[in-house]
């Protein structure tokens, strides 16, 4: 086993540990975590058995196995980025809806307060 191999195994294990830890602390939701866990497992397998990468490289006609890894990593990152912007767009749509709901609720509440005579009323707090 070469030094670089040991290093790769350690790095994969570290990434996996980090992912699991993030899930455990609820910083990362399970549905997003699965992709990362699978990636860790793939990295780990590749660093334990170097033949996997060479085999995949031969299969796709890439001359140097390392280049195959780069290609894979690049595609993977592009897909991740795209899916992240999808998530962000969906979240901002929800945020818009919530903002609008909130403003309506606030308006109705102020109106009711005024009608009941609870004082306060509109704009006492101002927005500045």
């Amino acid at each position: 086993m070469t030094h670089i191999q040991i290093l790769a195994i350690l790095a994969s294990l570290l990434l996996m540990f980090l992912t699991v830890e993030l899930i455990r602390r609820k910083y990362l939701e399970e549905k997003y975590a699965l992709v990362w866990l699978l990636t860790c497992i793939f990295f780990l397998l590749c660093s334990i058995n170097l033949e996997i990468l060479s085999f995949l490289a031969r299969l796709t006609g890439v001359l140097v196995p390392a280049n195959f890894l780069f290609l894979l990593a690049f595609f993977f990152l592009v897909v991740i980025c795209l899916s992240l912007t999808v998530v962000v767009s969906r979240e901002s749509q929800r945020q818009r809806r919530l903002t609008q709901e909130l403003s309506m609720l606030k308006f109705n509440l102020e109106e009711i307060k005024k009608r009941v005579g609870l004082g306060g009323g509109e704009g006492q707090k101002g927005s500045s």
Binding site: T99, Q100, L102, S103, M104, E122, S127, S128
Partner: protein
Amino acid sequence: MDKVLVIIPAYNEKKSIGGVVRDVKTSLPEADVLVINDGSTDDTSGEARQYGAMVLELPCNMGLGVAVQSGLIFAQDRGYRFVARMDGDGQHRPTELRSLLAPLEKGEADMVVGSRFLKAVSVSELNEYKPSLARRIGIGLFSGLLSFLLGTRVTDPNSGLHAMNHKSISFFAKEYPPDYPEVEVRVMAHKAGLVIREIPSTMLHRTGGASSITSLKSVYIVLEMLTSTIVGMFRRTER
């Protein structure tokens, strides 16, 4: 009496909003005025209330389209029959609201747009709006594109002076483009089978505040609007 709501989206328009609300109230006394404060950092709300407008507060700056849509949701919720939308910077003339609403009342259109480039019988404004060259190119580009895509003459695709009847209100309360909405609104309305009418209007120079569009951003904005227009043509729409 028909219930009319005038909605005015405003972001940091403290200087001009009071005058706009007052003028709307004078020109169209039967209408209710709703200012949508799009997360202003100044006292836009207080100023608007002082002149008798209702104020809908968005907790943070969400963009013009979101503010307009909030106003439409409000109108739908409270059963207003017609909605007119105008800017809070004093560029639109409240005296034109009545002619804007007229085609809706007669049932000739579902949506009316005030066009700066349709010539009225008398153009005598000293203060008439003259867009910069870059803006004219942009407007020309979109009016050409829209006229081609929609198959009708569109003279002012960027006008923010709109009036809607109930059919349009309920359609746009459900979905409204969040950023730079004017062009896409025309495409959506067309696809939803709403009858749009343009009428001549004059636009004044702003009385306060600054344009929301800076020159650096404008190229990106044009590309963004171009994309949304073309993609919009192929989007599925529920009728």
